[in-house]
Symmetry: C2
Subunit: 338 residues, 2 copies
C-alpha cells in the first residue's frame, strides 16, 4: 500500500464490489454479474470502468427507477434471435443469462442476435464481446445512451454516445477487440475539463448556438459532436436504429426523457450479434484464422498497435501484482458500506 493508493488483488476487488452492491440492495445474482465486470475494468486499468463505477451504480440504485432484484426472462423470438427482458434491472445479468442461448443459436445458424430490453446500462461493451470471442465466435455489440450528441450538420442533441464493440477470436492470444463511442469523446472527459476549468478541443462539442466551442461548460449545455464527421454521425444513427427501434426499445432521446433528471445510468436496450466462423467456413476455418493473424501481423510489424493492446498489457500486470486504487476513491467506496 503506497501513501496515495491502496493495492488490491482482483479477488479483493470482486468481493468489495459484491459487498457494496448487496449492501445497497442488489440481489446476489446482480451483484455478482456487476462485480465481475467491474473487476475486469479495474484489472485492465480502465479507471472509469473499474471500482469508480460502484459510486455510479449506487447513485442509480438510490435515485433511479432501477429494480435491483428483477430476474431476467428469456424469449426465443426465432431460431436466430433471443430476447432477454431485464425488467428494469441492470443489463449484465441479462447478458450472462442470454449468452449461452446466443452462442447455441450462432453455432446452429452461423449468425444470431440477442436483444436485451429494458435494462439499465453502465458498463463497457468489451467484456461482452470478449465473452463471445472466448466461445470461438465473432461478436458485435451496441447500445444507445442518453441524447447528448448532435447529428452532423445540426446543433441539437439527438444521439447518445452510442458505443459499438467488435471481437474476433484468436488462437492462443487475446481476441482482437475494439470498443468505442461514436461521440468524439466520452462525456466524462468533457465533465472533467469543466471541473478543472480547462479548454477542450474544438471538435468535441458545440455551444448552445451550434458553434464549435472550446469551453467545456458551454459544451455541456450545448451538444457533443460525433467522431469522424458525417460518417460517425451516420454510424450513431445506425446504432439508434439497430439497438433502439429494431429491438423495440428506447432511442437515446427517449432514454434521457425516461431518466427525468434522476442522473441515473441510461435505461434502454442492447443488441448483440454473434457469428460462428466454423459454420461460414467449415473445414477452411483454420486457414481463415491464420489469414486474420497475417492481417494483425501486417499492422503490428509496422509499429502500429492493435486496439485493446493497452488493456491486455494492463491485464498482465494486474493479474501478477494486483490493482492500485486511489485512497480517496477507496474511502468513498467504503462509505457506501455504512
Amino acid at each position: 500500500m503506497s501513501d496515495s493508493h491502496v493495492t488490491l488483488t482482483l479477488d479483493e476487488v470482486y468481493d468489495l464490489s459484491c459487498r457494496v452492491l448487496e449492501h445497497n440492495g442488489m440481489s446476489n445474482a446482480h451483484a455478482r454479474a456487476i462485480a465481475n465486470v467491474i473487476t475486469q475494468g479495474q484489472r485492465d486499468e480502465c479507471q472509469s470502468h473499474g471500482v469508480y463505477r460502484l459510486l455510479i451504480c449506487v447513485h442509480t440504485l438510490r435515485n433511479g427507477k432501477l429494480d435491483p432484484k428483477a430476474e431476467p426472462t428469456i424469449k426465443h423470438v426465432s431460431s436466430g434471435i433471443v430476447a432477454v427482458d431485464a425488467h428494469y434491472a441492470n443489463s449484465l445479468l441479462s447478458f450472462e443469462t442470454g449468452l449461452p442461448l446466443l452462442v447455441a443459436k450462432a453455432r446452429e445458424n452461423g449468425i444470431a442476435a440477442m436483444a436485451i430490453n429494458n435494462c439499465f446500462h453502465f458498463s463497457a461493451l468489451w467484456p461482452e464481446v470478449e465473452a463471445i470471442a472466448s466461445e470461438g465466435l465473432v461478436g458485435i455489440a451496441m447500445t444507445p445512451s442518453h441524447s447528448w450528441v448532435a447529428p452532423a450538420g445540426g446543433k441539437k442533441p439527438v444521439f447518445g454516445t452510442n458505443p459499438i464493440a467488435f471481437s474476433w477470436p484468436r488462437p492462443n492470444a487475446n481476441p482482437f477487440v475494439f470498443d468505442f463511442a461514436t461521440s468524439a469523446i466520452a462525456r466524462g472527459d468533457i465533465e472533467l475539463h469543466a471541473r478543472q476549468n480547462k479548454p477542450i478541443p474544438a471538435d468535441w462539442a458545440l455551444n448552445q448556438s451550434g458553434n464549435p466551442t472550446t469551453d467545456a461548460q458551454a459544451a455541456l449545455k450545448g451538444a457533443m459532436q460525433t467522431f469522424g464527421g458525417h460518417k460517425g454521425s451516420a454510424l450513431a444513427a445506425m446504432i439508434e436504429l439497430l439497438s433502439g427501434a429494431l429491438i423495440g426499445d428506447l432511442t437515446s432521446a427517449q432514454s434521457l426523457a425516461f431518466d427525468a433528471g434522476a442522473g441515473a445510468t441510461p435505461c434502454h436496450g442492447e443488441l448483440i450479434l454473434a457469428f460462428d466462423p466454423k459454420v461460414f467456413l467449415g473445414d477452411a476455418y483454420a486457414t481463415s484464422l491464420q489469414q486474420a493473424e497475417a492481417l494483425f501481423e501486417s499492422i503490428t510489424e509496422q509499429g502500429a498497435r492493435l486496439p485493446s493492446q493497452r488493456r491486455y498489457d494492463a491485464r498482465e500486470r494486474s493479474v501478477l501484482h494486483g490493482v492500485k486504487v486511489p485512497k480517496a476513491l477507496f474511502q468513498d467506496i467504503l462509505q457506501l458500506l455504512e
Copy 2:
C-alpha cells in the same frame, strides 16, 4: 442537348450500358445486372458510379482476370447463411441471384447473411442495401478493396478503402441509407488532385516516410489514412475480417496481390446482412417504424440532412428530366462500341 453535355433518359443509359458491356464480351445476364446499377448511379448523380464506370468495367474486362460469362452458383450454408460463388465474374449478378434467398432466410430467422465469393467489384453498396430495404428489411453490406490505407499509428498500407453501407426501410419514403468508405477520402479524389497538381488536406494520406502530406503524388506512393483516426482504423480492420477472413475470401492486401498490377477493379468477397424487424418485433413493428421516423424528424427539423438526401433529390430530377453526361465522356463510351 447542350453544347458540353448529352442528355439521356434512364432507359437510354441502361440500353447504352448493356450494349457496351455485351459488345465487350459480357453475357447478357451480367450486362443487365451491371447496367442496372450504373443507371442507378447516373440517375442519382453519383458521377463516378454512373456511365463513367463503363470505362473501368471494360478496362477490367480487357486487362484483368474477370470471367465475363460465369454464372453464379448458390450454396445454402445454413438456415441463416447463403453463399454465392461468383466464379471470378462481377459481383452484381451474384447479388441479384442470392438476394431472394437472403430475404427468405431473414424472414424465417430474423437475421441472415449472404457471402459473395470470388467476385470482381466496382459498384457502390447503396443500391444493394436499398434493394434490401425495398423488401422491408434492414440491410448492411461491406467489402474490402485494394490495400491502400494505413492503420492508425502505422505508415504502410494494410486496409482497403473498405466501404460499409446500411439501410433502414421507411414507410412511404426513400429508405434511410448510408454508404461510406472507411478511408478518409476516395482514392479517386487523390488521383484527381494529383492530375491537377492540387494540394490535398493533411489528414487524407501519408508520404512514404509515414508523415502526413499535402502532396497528392506523394500520397499515392505512400498510404491513405482512414477517417476518424483509430476508430475508423478499427472499423476498417473489422471489414477486412468480416468480409474477408469470415467468409473465406481475400483481404485487401491479398486482393491487390491477385491483381498483379493489372489495374482491374478489386476481386474479393462481400458480406451482406439482413434483419427482419417483423421477426424481431411482431405486432410492435409498426410502432417501431414510427419511432424511427421520430428520430429522422429530430435530425431534419434542426436543418441537418439525412445521409443520401442529395442522391434522392437528384433521383427525382433525373426521373423527370433525364441525366446529363459530359460530351467527352459520352464519346469515350461510344468508342467502346467500335
